[in-house]
């Protein structure tokens, strides 16, 4: 069984081919790192996996189930959760409400127009627990707009983890963070149990290399190198395109 099996994925925007015959196999519980220079198509690949974009060609399978034609809104229900490179949270709401929305997304309760949301004690307790897990429990009732950038990154991760995903896609979780904040987030990600498969896009090789077991290098939409950490780092093509030798 594979957690994620991407085959021959292609996506073009006009004449620009952003994803070019990408094939990728991620084992259950694996920690996979995707690196590549600007415009390599890393985020586009995530958007294709989450269904935000439709591929022109190719297939995507999640735990051996073909989800190529499953609409994006259904995919979280099948166990895909993601974070965004550019933080997209509900800034007018409290941290607690942000995480509550994440929990609600997978429940039928989200359609209920009659009951009061702030009386859903079980749901709210669960949201608090999710915030505690990322060390933000004490800020639960603070509006998101009044929190620091590093804290928002952790809210993103809390929201993704709250959905108890089987496949977690992290899009540059360390971008824009200070050294200490990076350490916090790395610790947080490192503590995620192995029943969650993680695919991470990251620019910062220093932080990310320790995290990943296997690394995929994307360049102009193509998979250029794939292998273990040592293999990828030693590969001449990696040095050529990514490390800018």
């Amino acid at each position: 069984m594979t957690a994620l099996d991407v085959r021959g994925l292609e996506k073009s925007f006009g004449g620009l081919r952003v994803t070019d015959r990408v094939s990728l196999t991620v084992e259950p519980g694996e920690r996979r790192l995707i690196i590549g220079p600007n415009g390599a198509g890393k985020t586009t690949l995530f958007n294709l996996i989450t269904g935000e974009l439709r591929p022109d060609r190719g297939s995507i399978a999640l735990f051996d189930r073909d989800i190529t034609r499953v609409p994006g809104r259904r995919r979280p229900h099948l166990g895909i959760a993601r974070t965004y490179q550019i933080i997209t949270l509900f800034s007018g709401e409290t941290l607690l409400r942000n995480v509550t929305l994440s929990l609600l997304g997978l429940r039928r309760l989200r359609w209920n127009p009659f009951v009061r949301l702030d009386r859903q004690q079980a749901l709210i307790a669960e949201a608090r627990a999710a915030l505690d897990r990322v060390g933000l429990g004490h800020l639960a009732d603070r509006p998101l707009a009044q929190t620091a950038y590093g804290e928002r990154r952790r809210v993103e991760i809390a929201m993704a983890l709250a959905q108890q995903p089987r496949l977690l896609l992290l899009d540059e979780p360390f971008a824009g963070l200070s050294i200490e904040e990076r350490r916090d987030v790395l610790q947080l990600v490192g503590a995620i149990p192995r029943d969650v498969t993680i695919v991470m896009i990251e620019h910062d090789m220093d932080v990310a290399l320790d995290f990943a077991e296997r690394i995929t290098v994307l360049h102009f939409g193509e998979v250029v190198v794939e292998g273990s950490r040592a293999e990828v780092v030693a590969h001449p093509r990696t040095r050529e395109i990514y490390l800018g030798d």
């Binding site: 935000e52 620091a148 950038y149 804290e151 929201m159 824009g176």
Partner: protein, 294 residues
């Protein structure tokens, strides 16, 4: 309720559903333009299909219905009936807003992409909101007909839609109280000011300009903001800690550095302008940051 009224509401629901399917093909300005175009089609049909609508001459009805045997013929009786419907309408909206579905709706307004990634059916949420709104518009139309006992194509003209829109925008979108205040403003101007000022439209226009300049978020949230600002100006020192409640913690120092000026928090129902705040704050110096990528 006479069968004709039930039929009218059913027709309003069907029309709202149909228009929602068409209009929800677009978002933002595209959505607005499609709804305007659909409204113009309705107006054109009402104006030209004379055998049914009697064209510009309109249709008169004789008398008002008597629900549960209570006559609504007298102005007072009709007033109370409308007030009851109004309270039910506002209550239904208040319940909806506080419900999980209301939270879904607000989330969809602020971050539709994110909502989809969290497993929400963004289109369906918008569709339900549209039909819900269409239903209450149908109720309003019915009351309008019973009030005037006359209806002509003017009721569905662009100016009628624009008036409703102005009520909402001037009062404050995304709030429960805003549209009520906005409607009161327009109606009072129309019925009271017009008795004293011949060019009452001019006065109304001037009021809108003032609102847009000083309270772009609308009359109700704007008043709340100015009130808070005035209260803060009275007690400059005392006001600061009130705006950021919360426990002191080790992270508090950093938090203060990164804290943005308090958002114009209006009511707890939020404001679309807030979604703009999702952008990242200015970086403090000495922070390494990853390069932006695709």
């Amino acid at each position: 309720m006479p069968p004709s009224a039930a039929g009218a509401l059913a027709a309003a629901l069907v029309a709202a559903a149909l228009f929602a399917v068409l209009a929800l093909r677009g978002t933002g300005l595209g959505f607005v333009m499609i709804t305007v175009a659909l409204g113009q089609i309705v107006w054109g049909v009402a104006y030209r299909w004379i055998s049914i609508t009697n064209g510009d001459n309109g249709i008169s009805i004789k008398g008002r219905p008597s629900p549960l045997g209570l006559s609504l013929a007298s102005p007072a009786a009709f007033y109370w009936a409308v007030l009851i419907v109004f309270v039910v309408a506002v209550a239904s909206m208040a319940v909806l807003v506080a419900s999980p579905f209301g939270a879904s709706l607000r989330g969809t307004r602020d971050q539709p992409r994110r909502m989809q990634a969290l497993g929400y059916h963004v289109w369906m949420i918008r569709f339900i909101a549209f039909v819900f709104s269409g239903f209450w518009s149908g109720v309003a139309g019915l009351l309008y007909l019973y009030y005037h006992q006359f209806v002509s194509p003017h009721a569905v003209a662009l100016s009628a839609s624009a008036e409703a829109l102005l009520m909402v925008i001037s009062g404050g979108t995304g709030t429960l109280l805003g549209p009520i205040a906005g409607a009161a403003l327009v109606v009072v101007m129309k019925n009271v000011a017009s008795a004293y000022v011949e060019r009452w439209n001019f006065v109304l226009g001037a009021i809108f300009v003032v609102i847009v300049v000083f309270m772009p978020e609308g009359f109700v949230p704007g008043t709340v903001r100015l009130w808070r600002w005035a209260a803060g100006a009275w007690r400059p020192r005392a006001a600061a800690p009130v705006s950021t409640p919360g426990r002191r913690s080790a992270g508090d120092e950093r938090l203060r550095e990164e804290a943005r000026p308090p958002i114009r928090s209006l009511s707890r129902y939020g404001n679309p302008a807030m979604s703009a705040c999702a952008k990242r704050p200015r970086r403090q110096s000495g922070v390494t940051r990853g390069k932006a990528t695709s």
